[in-house]
């Protein structure tokens, strides 16, 4: 049994919050450059150039890529041979978020009550934490700050099994079409298939952690992703919805078994600032 003091986690989460907001992944930059060579709209090319310049400035000036530094979504993979000691694990993650958002001058975007009061918690907590128990004695933490604009364009639909793959593709494309320029295209489209109502949404979110330069390991889903991506980029929405051929940089599918009566489909839309950083303890 390996012991980890939860206090060790605080500075790690803090750094992940700051780094993920300042430094975009190389996969996003290489995809935008790749799409730029195929882009036909002069306005779109101008917008893509501004985005590339912005990533560069954010890194150089240690500023968040986007002012919406998001909800701190944390994915934890906890090795089953680890014994966490020294305090409350959830509170340690929240403390890391608190310190990261303060010291990184990141925006605090959480309100305490979602409907009636909506008072800002002023430290961006609570984080949204998903913990998975895995074999081994390592602890992996991924922080994926998620902005409100793209999250608002996401949707779960409980489809009929008879809707089939055509129904799934139509729903995903339609969800993107209805979003237009709102979620800050070029977007990444996370698709969760199967499980149940809430698991499909989590699959969609988790799929966004895959690198944009990595193919889906399942050939069947890789083909579906490519077809959906083509249809999305044929919508003409373009960067920022100002028209063009670059609406999505990638479509990522994750699937799980589901009930004989169900076919849950979740679409989680991610803006071009597809931010996530991981650390292994």
């Amino acid at each position: 049994m390996r012991e980890i003091d939860v206090k060790e986690i605080i500075p790690i989460v803090k750094k992940l919050c700051i780094d993920s907001n300042f430094y975009i992944g190389k996969d996003v930059i290489s995809k935008i450059k790749e799409f730029k060579t195929k882009e036909e709209s002069p306005i779109a090319i101008n917008v893509l150039n501004i985005l590339l310049k912005n990533y560069e400035l954010a890194e150089k000036e240690n500023m968040p890529i986007c002012q919406d530094t998001g909800v701190a979504v944390c994915f934890v993979e906890l090795g089953q041979n680890i014994h966490l000691v020294g305090g409350d694990f959830t509170e340690a993650i929240n403390e890391g978020v608190r310190q990261g958002y303060k010291e990184g001058y990141l925006r605090k975007s959480m309100v305490d009550d979602p409907v009636i009061k909506r008072i800002n918690t002023k430290d961006n907590t609570p984080a949204i934490i998903y913990t998975e128990i895995v074999p081994g004695d390592k602890l992996k933490i991924t922080v994926a700050p998620k902005g409100g604009g793209s999250e608002n364009m996401s949707e779960v639909k409980m489809m009929k099994p008879a809707d089939g793959i055509t129904g799934v593709m139509d729903f995903v494309v339609d969800r993107v079409a209805r979003s237009g320029g709102n979620p800050c295209p070029p977007i990444v489209v996370g698709v969760g298939l199967g499980g149940n109502f809430e698991q499909s949404a989590l699959l969609a979110k988790r799929s966004l952690l895959r690198s944009l330069t990595e193919k889906n390991p399942d050939q069947k889903w890789a083909e579906v992703e490519a077809e959906i991506l083509k249809r999305i980029n044929d919508l003409g929405i373009g960067p920022q919805g100002l028209g063009g051929r670059t609406t999505a940089l990638g479509v990522h599918i994750l699937s799980k078994p589901c009930h004989i009566a169900s076919m849950p489909v979740a679409v989680n839309i991610q803006c071009h600032a597809a931010r996530h950083k991981s650390a292994i303890i």
Partner: protein, 182 residues
């Protein structure tokens, strides 16, 4: 076409703008987003004054990141505009001449822009450092309790935007998207 705009704006400054034009704004602009809009429109409905003179002014939909030491403001890109659609016509009626945000507007807002000879300018969402570098001063003038949603008065120089709706009812989100649809 590229154009420089200096605030406050007059109809004359806007009559030659066409959708797709790149504009650079210099002068004073005011920030407001969701809750601030609700409060502003409540004041107008009661016949009260809002915290700044709206005549010829620009409202920027933004909730900036906090200012790091030595800078007037943190990252400050636009937020999505449709959430302000229910309030925008009242503010245009009160004298606002331009709105800066991202994403398409409702027909009711477009109609109000035609009526009031106002424009909607798209800033690039996520280009928050590029935009922050054009903001030279920033101070909170109202609703400090709202944190990032407070109303700020900003002095800007060459703030970059693209004309998304002109005073004639043209809409970039319809016409440009149609061109690239397959």
């Amino acid at each position: 076409m590229e154009m420089d705009l200096t605030t406050p704006l007059k109809t004359d400054d806007l009559k030659d703008l066409k959708i797709g034009d790149q504009v650079f704004i210099t002068g004073t602009i005011y920030t407001a987003r969701d809750t601030a809009h609700k409060r502003l429109v409540e004041l107008l409905a009661n016949g009260d004054k809002i915290p700044f003179d709206p005549q010829g002014q620009i409202i920027y939909y933004v909730g900036p990141a906090p200012a790091p030491p030595g800078r007037p403001i943190g990252s400050a890109g636009p937020t999505t505009s449709y959430r302000m659609d229910p309030y925008a016509p009242e503010l245009l009626d009160a004298g606002i001449k331009a709105m800066i945000g991202k994403g398409p507007r409702d027909q009711s807002v477009i109609d109000s822009m035609i009526k009031n000879k106002a424009v909607y300018l798209a800033a690039v969402g996520g280009a928050a450092v590029v935009i922050a570098n054009s903001i030279k001063e920033s101070k909170i003038i109202a609703y400090e309790d709202l944190g990032p949603e407070a109303i700020r008065e900003m002095k800007v120089e060459n703030f970059p935007c693209i004309v998304a709706n002109d005073i004639y009812g043209n809409d970039i989100y319809r016409t440009e998207v149609e061109k690239y649809k397959r």
